[in-house]
């Protein structure tokens, strides 16, 4: 497809355990267009990080294995690449930032050195030129006094500044795709607002695509062009940001949106809750993975797992309520509990 920069098909990544293979992502399919933002949302343990580490092929180092599927980036299948090839792709074409900026920074080198170093890893330029570009990049991410700051060490900076440095380091080679795994979760809302604004501006200026992983539906609403909702290793719903918020369809998505205390709603009222908790990937229920918590579960849900189907144009849901055989249950049923 023309505009697709990244296209993941049927990706299964798992961990070998005593009890067999625990599939952290189970035949998931996703795609991102050039210059656009895909948000992956879901609660902790749903497989968001494993999915993103798989794209970078870093999951190999976390003890994970890609068992099935393809990860096409500009048409090339990353799942089939050697780690040696990946070294050139990582950093230069695809960059990644994590929740904890300290994990990406080396405490014993100045930040200017670290940014210049990652440039020289991918480009044949002189040290002074790399240093100059590093300072430009620090300027671009809004670090005041970049010449001075470039000579400082990570511990001399605040959390928000470190995350800016990490973003500078990730973007210095002008990658086509940035994967950001909860980049603002550890930050205050005020600093989060700065970082999100920065990401949007850099996306405009550099034309890069972003895969943004978050558990905050507010962040997703603000940043996403498309949203994929993950639950226990599966994508249960995928669509445009407007479809997900205006026509949430999977009972899990609806429950998630309704559980958030709003800023306009009535204070102190009992909140909507999804009963129970997310199952462990080592101990999944039979049938639909959401069935023990689902208010709409019917007999079939306990035996057969629904696939991800396009039930409206460009809007995908994995739920029997929306499959053609289950059509008797569709329209209106999902929005009953939706008071947003």
């Amino acid at each position: 497809m023309a505009g697709k920069l990244l296209e993941i098909q049927n990706l299964t990544t798992g961990f070998v355990t005593e009890k067999g293979i625990a599939k952290a992502t189970d035949r998931i399919s996703l795609s991102v267009e050039k210059g656009k933002t895909l948000c992956i949302v879901g609660e902790s343990g749903s497989g968001k990080s494993v999915a993103s580490l798989s794209i970078m092929r870093l999951v190999d180092y976390a003890g994970g294995t890609i068992f099935e599927g393809s990860i096409r980036f500009n048409g090339d299948d990353l799942a089939a690449k050697s780690q040696k090839d990946m070294i050139n792709i990582r950093g230069e074409h695809i960059a990644m930032i994590f929740q904890d900026p300290m994990s990406a920074l080396n405490p014993v080198f100045t930040i200017g050195d670290q940014i210049a170093e990652s440039l020289q890893l991918h480009q044949r330029i002189s040290r002074p030129e790399a240093w100059r570009q590093a300072i430009d990049m620090l300027q671009m991410v809004g670090i005041p006094d970049p010449e001075l700051r470039a000579k400082q060490y990570p511990h001399e900076m605040s959390g928000g500044m470190r995350q800016r440095v990490v973003i500078a380091m990730a973007l210095v080679c002008k990658p086509a795709l940035l994967i950001a795994d909860e980049p603002t979760t550890a930050l205050d809302v005020t600093v989060q607002a700065q970082i999100l604004e920065l990401l949007r501006r850099l996306q405009d200026e550099l034309g890069m695509a972003i895969v943004l992983i978050t558990h905050d539906m507010g962040v997703a609403a603000e940043m996403a062009d498309r949203i994929a909702v993950m639950y226990a290793g599966k994508i249960v719903e995928e669509g445009t940001v407007l479809d997900i918020f205006d026509h949430p369809s999977h009972p899990y998505t609806i429950g998630l949106l309704n559980s958030i205390p709003g800023l306009e709603g009535t204070r102190g009222e009992e909140l909507y809750t999804i009963p129970g908790t997310i199952p462990s990937i080592n101990n999944l229920p039979a049938g639909c993975r959401f069935n023990p918590r689902c208010v709409k579960a019917e007999d079939r849900c306990r035996h057969q797992e629904p696939g991800l189907n396009e039930y409206r144009t460009d809007h995908h849901v994995a739920c029997w309520l929306y499959s053609s055989e289950g059509a008797r249950n569709t329209a209106g049923s999902a929005s009953e509990v939706n008071h947003l």
């Binding site: 600093v191 539906m217 998630l256 205390p261 102190g268 908790t277």
Partner: protein, 332 residues
Amino acid sequence: MTQQPLIDVRNLKKYFPIKTGLFNRVVGHVKAVDDVTFGIHQGETFGLVGESGCGKSTLGRAILQLQKPTSGEVLFDGRSVQQMNAKQLRHLRQDMQIIFQDPFGSLNPRFHIRDIIGEPLRVHQQVSAAEIDKRVVELMELVGLDATRRNRYPHEFSGGQRQRIGIARAIALNPRFIVADEAVSALDVSVQSQVLNLLMKLQKELGLTFLFIAHGLNVVRHISDRIGVMYLGRLVEVGRTEELFANPRHPYTAALLSAIPRPSPHRKQERIVLQGDVPSPANPPAGCRFHPRCIYAQDKCRVLSPELVTLASEHQVACHYPLEALSHSEVI
């Protein structure tokens, strides 16, 4: 309200010494809580918000006397905590409890759930093992845990369940006042709403008074009757929840509220993006501590620290040039 508050905090300060490595000489102080005055009424939930490091947890711990205040006074039900004798303090410890953020770190991994929840009973009350067990079952049912699992260990429970264990333990001695320090912050939304409902239910049933510390502003809004906004060790604004959200009068509160990402793609709200980071509380700016980041700062702000003054009923602000009060319709 003219009624005497259950918790009455007066000019409370908590400074931490900064020492040099070599001679252990005190070279300065982190003014984590610097002259804070406010009250919490019986049965009320008072929310405390502000950026990381502004002193919320320190204030909570100083009120509970878990950390000795540097100066100032805390009155519990009209009696000064500082002047209590050992016996009175022991009673006070039963009346005031804390729930922590980390449902993983705050529970001893080698203890059965039964012992974790029952421990305060064993320490503070002379009751038989059978009575403790009965009470543990009661408490577990009250917080929505399966009491038949009381002989299990913490790691066998999910994050939300562990938070319920922490809550059961906190209410074991029928306290009157609970500090919930980021009690739901580490939980996923679907579990967070379960625990929030539990806290609200317990408050109604047991008449509890809460100091609710959290950085999730929508959560604080939902649960709190009144909210205090802290900045660098100071309370800069206090007001009833609806009023504070509709009519923030301190520029910092306005910026903080505008930074919340709204879970709706249609509301692209005007945002006041604050520049820079929170300055270090070891070396706070002179005058108004917010002035280096404040777009309204004037000369006066750079030299004179504003006092917390009452602007409208139950609405206090520490700012020389408070924002105009808007009508509700303009905001929502």
